[in-house]
C-alpha cells in the first residue's frame, strides 16, 4: 500500500479524480498462493497473459517472451496455471 492520505487531503465525495491509478492499489497481499513458471516448459504462447484478470503477467512483446509475474498485483487466482497448455505454471503456497 502506498502512503495513506489524511482525511483533509482527500477529494470531497470520495471520488477518484485521476485516471489510470489502479496500479497504485497493490492487491498482491490478498494472495495465499503465488504462480511460478518453469521456463524449460514455457512455449511463450501468451495464454496466461490473455487470461489473467489482473494484467499481472509480464511479457516482452518485442521479443515475444513471457517474463514472469507482477506479484504486487497478482491475487493468486490460479487461472494462469489452469489455462497453461504445457503445465509450466505451478501455484505454490506463500507460506
Amino acid at each position: 500500500m502506498s502512503k495513506q492520505k489524511r482525511a483533509k487531503e482527500l477529494v470531497a465525495g470520495g471520488m477518484i479524480v485521476e485516471a489510470g491509478n489502479a496500479r497504485d492499489y497493490e492487491t498482491g497481499d490478498w494472495r495465499t498462493e503465488k504462480p511460478e513458471v518453469d521456463f524449460d516448459k514455457c512455449i511463450h504462447c501468451f495464454f496466461c497473459w490473455a487470461y489473467c484478470p489482473d494484467s499481472s503477467v509480464n511479457v516482452d512483446p518485442e521479443a515475444g517472451k513471457m517474463k514472469g509475474f507482477d506479484l504486487k498485483h497478482c491475487k493468486g487466482c490460479g487461472i494462469c496455471a489452469s489455462i497453461c497448455p504445457k503445465n509450466a505454471i505451478t501455484m505454490v503456497s506463500e507460506r
Binding site: K8, L10, A12, G13
Partner: protein
C-alpha cells in the same frame, strides 16, 4: 417587482422549480407531492423550462437518475413524500456521500403502516442521518423561499451537499395561500449559473464516482462528510441574509417568537409553528410569559444557537411530529435536550408527540403543553418526560 398570487404549497414549489429551471428533474408521483411534480411537468410540456424531465418507474430510480445527472454535471431537483422517500433510502445516502447538490422537496407524510396519506414528520426525520441538509417550512411562502435558497446553499463550493426542503403534507401542500413570487430574472440572478465540480461529462478529465472504499479510506471519507455538514451553518445564514435583502423576507436558522422575556418556551417545526404563534399570542394576552422557538434548519442542527436561545428559560415543551419507537422521546426532543445538557443554566425539557398521521393540532393542545411545562417548572421536577397531545389513550 414581486407579485402576490394564490398558490398552494405544491404550486409554490413548482413555481420555484420553474424559475430555477434545473437541467434535470427525475421524479415519481406520490401523494401529497404529486400535485407539485404534475405542475412542473406542465411547465416542461409548455416549454416554459429547459429541463430534461425524467419519468421513472419508482422513487429508487428517481433518486438514482438524480445522482447520475448531478454527477454528470447538472443542476438537479426532485420531490417526494413518505414511502417514496423510504424507497429512495439507499440512494438518498449515496447522493450526500458523493457530495451532489441535489434539492428535493418533501411534502411530509406519515410512513406506513397503516397506510395514511396525511402529515407527520416520520419520513424526513427518518432521513435525518442521511447527510442531507433539512430546511422545514411553516407555510407555502416559506416552502417557496426555502426552495430557492436551498439551490444556492447546496451549490456553495464549501457545502456541495443535497438539501431537503420540507412542507407539511396537505396542511401546506394543498392549502391555498397568498404567496409572493420573485421575478424569474431575480431568481436566476440570485442562484447564478450552475458551477460544476468534477463533472463526469468532462471527458478530458475522467473521474470515478462511488468507487469501492474499504477499511483504509471509508472512515476518512465519512469524516470529511461530517466536517462538511458541520460547517454549513454560516453558509445557510449568509444565503438567507442575501435572500432577505432581495425578497424582504428574513430567515434564520431558528426563529424566536416572543421568547425575549419568556419563562417557558414551545419548540416546533413546520406548519404547527403558525398555530403555536396564535396560541402564544392568546396565552400572552392572559399574562403568560411564553414564546415559541421555530426550528427552520434541523440538519445541520444549530446546537450553539439552540443553547443560546433556550438556556435562559425555566421550561421547554418540545412538540415532535414523529415517533422514535423505543427511543427517549421524539427526534427534536433528543436534539434539544442533548444540546442543553452542558449549559450552565438549563431549562427543564419535556416532549409531546402529536399530530401523527395528520391528526389536527389545536391552539388548546399547545395551551395544554404550556400548562404542563408550567406545572413542571413550578414543581421543579419532571415526572413524565414524554407525553402525547390529542391522543385517545
Amino acid at each position: 417587482m414581486a407579485k402576490v398570487i394564490g398558490l398552494n404549497g405544491n404550486a409554490a414549489v413548482a413555481n420555484a422549480m420553474r424559475q430555477i429551471n434545473p437541467h434535470v428533474v427525475a421524479a415519481y408521483p406520490i401523494t401529497p407531492q404529486t400535485d407539485c411534480v404534475e405542475r412542473f411537468a406542465e411547465f416542461v410540456a409548455d416549454g416554459r423550462v429547459d429541463t430534461e424531465f425524467v419519468t421513472v418507474e419508482s422513487e429508487h430510480s428517481a433518486m438514482s437518475a438524480c445522482v447520475g445527472a448531478a454527477a454528470a454535471g447538472g443542476r438537479v431537483m426532485t420531490a417526494t413524500s413518505a414511502n417514496g422517500l423510504a424507497l429512495m433510502w439507499e440512494i438518498v445516502y449515496i447522493a450526500a456521500s458523493m457530495r451532489l447538490p441535489i434539492v428535493m422537496m418533501v411534502a411530509n407524510r406519515a410512513l406506513s403502516g397503516n397506510i395514511n396519506i396525511h402529515c407527520d414528520h416520520s419520513d424526513t426525520m427518518g432521513a435525518r442521518d442521511a447527510g442531507w441538509l433539512q430546511l422545514f417550512s411553516e407555510n407555502a411562502q416559506e416552502a417557496y423561499d426555502n426552495t430557492i435558497m436551498a439551490i444556492k446553499i447546496a451549490e456553495d463550493m464549501s457545502v456541495r451537499l443535497p438539501v431537503m426542503v420540507t412542507q407539511d403534507g396537505f396542511i401546506i401542500s394543498h392549502a391555498l395561500e397568498c404567496v409572493e413570487l420573485l421575478e424569474d430574472e431575480e431568481v436566476q440572478k440570485f442562484i447564478g449559473p450552475y458551477k460544476e465540480r468534477y463533472p463526469m461529462l468532462d471527458l478530458k478529465n475522467p473521474v470515478t464516482y462511488g468507487p469501492l472504499d474499504l477499511f483504509d479510506y471509508y472512515f476518512e471519507h465519512k469524516w470529511s462528510q461530517i466536517d462538511a455538514i458541520d460547517h454549513c451553518l454560516p453558509v445557510i445564514e449568509k444565503v438567507s441574509a442575501e435572500y432577505g435583502k432581495l425578497s424582504g423576507r428574513n430567515y434564520e436558522l431558528l426563529e424566536s417568537y416572543k421568547l425575549d422575556d419568556a419563562e417557558v418556551g414551545i419548540v416546533a417545526l413546520g406548519s404547527t409553528c403558525g398555530t403555536a404563534k396564535e396560541a402564544v399570542d392568546r396565552m400572552r394576552e392572559a399574562g403568560k410569559k411564553v414564546g415559541l422557538l421555530k426550528v427552520r434548519c434541523f440538519r445541520p442542527f444549530p446546537t450553539e444557537q439552540v443553547i443560546k436561545t433556550l438556556s435562559p428559560l425555566k421550561g421547554v415543551a418540545v412538540l415532535d411530529r414523529s415517533a422514535t419507537f423505543g427511543g427517549f422521546g421524539g427526534p427534536v426532543f433528543t436534539e434539544i435536550r442533548s444540546a442543553l445538557y452542558d449549559a450552565p443554566e438549563r431549562p427543564l425539557v419535556i416532549d409531546f408527540l402529536y399530530g401523527l398521521g395528520g391528526r389536527d393540532i389545536f391552539m388548546e393542545d399547545i395551551e395544554m403543553a404550556h400548562s404542563r411545562i408550567e406545572g413542571v417548572v413550578k414543581k421543579g421536577r419532571i415526572d413524565t418526560h414524554v407525553d402525547f397531545l390529542g391522543l385517545r389513550e
